[in-house]
Amino acid sequence: MKGVRHYPGFLPLTILCLIVLYAPLAVVAVYSFNASTSITQWGGFSLRWYADVFTGAEAERFGQAAWNSLTIALIAATTATAIATAAALAMIRGGPFRGRQASFALINLPLMVPEIVIAVATLIFFSTIGLTTGYLTILLAHITFCIPFAYLPIAARLEGIEGTYEQAARDLYATRAQAFRLILLPLMMPGVISGWLLAFIISLDDFIITNFVKGAGMETLPTAIFGSVKQGIKPNIMAISTLMLLVSVLFVTAAYLINRKGQKTP
């Protein structure tokens, strides 16, 4: 008898859950080091497909796509984080105000509406106002759906900071701007950084909405990969996938560690 918390079979199912989550990624990561041109035969360990990503026939196309993805993610994450930080200040430190419920619903709207519906609506909107689809339309769409992802960790962090720190600063004749810049913002920073990192990953990840609003000839990494995969999975795709996987894991681990470290200090 191991107590009421123990259920036989739950540990194997948990392990099964982890295997299901990681096995496909692990298999692709392993096969990205395959020396063979065939994706089915194992031809020994090699880094040739990683070299191919940077120098091969598709290197220029993927390089341009990666540049677009990175710059869009940087600008979108930064803009969304600034907007979300202001919103969090109003929602958490604004006291009760009219339209608070509506504002909360609005911030979370991008999480409620199915992605494909957002994609259709955004394309129709840009087409109606006559904005040619391309870099700018992708960027605008990304800023919008990144806001809730940046908002959540920032608001969570802000809720955990007592008002007394700023109160003390204000009592010592700091202006609200000074109290924000010198006291509140440094305390909020772990939340702001994780919000930015998550928004960055979400932007880098997006396929469905980007695919609708990108226009002809414009590619981000996911749309370029999708285009290649349609003709079959090639080894260089596995190398790119593994590199992107690595970037995602690094970013999320950083967000996790920064948040945890932030929780230890008051």
Binding site: L13, I116, D205
Partner: protein, 305 residues
């Protein structure tokens, strides 16, 4: 205890006076780039399609008519119910429901197991569950396709082990799509159930055990009713995105597994597209999702009472 007169500027409401300017960017961006577009999409669903892919501003019910009603090949027969699109919706609901069930069967034990670990290691377990969610969905779906292929590592492995002699045909079946959806959204099931189990008072289980209830009777009669809100939240978080999914059906399924996402996507591709029809299908999908969310909100307020 509402204090009369002007309130002191406490730190907790330090930004009371400038709430509007602080929220203005959010309202502007989400209002203009999401609320307005969805409203415009509703209008588009009542417009006339143009042959080059686009619309003419003539209001009509043609898109909804095309979805629900058929008048035969030449349009001269008495109107009947058109089953083509309804059956695509039905299949999508069915696929999403099976994927949700699969997530629940694996997700509940996982969430329970993690929530009953010592507080120190819980964070690590949770982190392990969430990492795959942050990996690009496209890459995860492509990886699954690679793994499940006829000559893929899974089939090769099973053949090498002597368990099967012919490769299993998994890709391009309903099962592959269900597995894809399950794999895409599994963390969404684990996290809310974990949050519910973590708050569960295990003294209830101990009381049941003292009264000679078996482990499984306790799970069924005591635990499940208490953590039900977490289970329902998890089911909604998996079901809703599964319903409108595009990548899993497109990359793992075939023509027979066509789902709502692909139907909408087709209407906006090239000159063969039909924008009003695509907008109408998206409206119907959004209405379905809203109904599910409203039912959920109602169940929650009823539960709180």
């Amino acid at each position: 205890m509402a204090a009369p007169g002007p309130q002191p500027q406490t730190g907790d409401a330090a930004y009371r006076g400038i709430v509007r300017p602080l929220l203005l960017p959010t309202w502007a961006v989400i209002g203009i780039l999401m609320v307005l577009p969805v409203a415009l999409m509703a209008v588009y669903s009542f417009l006339t399609k143009e042959f080059r892919g686009g619309v003419e501003w003539d209001f009509t019910l043609a898109a909804y008519d095309q979805f629900f009603v058929t008048r035969g090949l030449f349009g001269d027969e008495p109107p009947q119910i058109e089953w083509t699109y309804i059956s695509i919706f039905w299949r999508s609901i069915w696929q999403a429901a099976l994927a949700t069930l699969l997530c629940l069967l694996i997700g509940f034990p996982t969430a329970w197991f993690i929530a009953t670990r010592p507080a120190k290691t819980r964070g690590i377990w949770l982190f392990l569950i969430t990492i795959p969610y942050w990996v690009n969905l496209l890459i995860r779906t492509v990886s699954l396709r690679f793994l499940l292929r006829d000559q893929g590592p899974l089939n090769e492995g099973l053949i090498d082990l002597g368990l099967i002699s012919e490769p299993l045909q998994i890709i391009n079946t309903n099962l592959a799509v269900q597995l894809g959806l399950f794999y895409s959204y599994l963390p969404f099931m684990v996290l809310p159930i974990y949050a519910a189990v973590e708050r569960y008072n295990f003294a209830l289980s101990e009381a049941a055990a003292d009264l000679y209830a078996s482990r499984w009777a306790t799970l069924r009669e005591i635990v499940l009713p208490v953590v039900k809100p977490g289970i329902i939240a998890g089911c909604i978080l998996v079901f809703v995105p599964s319903l409108g999914a595009f990548l899993a059906p497109d990359l793992l399924g075939g023509a027979k597994t066509f789902m709502i996402g692909s139907l909408i996507d087709e209407q906006f591709k090239g000159s063969q597209g039909n924008w009003p029809f695509g907008a109408a299908v998206a409206m119907i999908l959004m209405s379905l999702v809203l109904i599910v969310l409203l039912l959920y909100a109602r169940a929650q307020t009823r539960g709180a009472r």
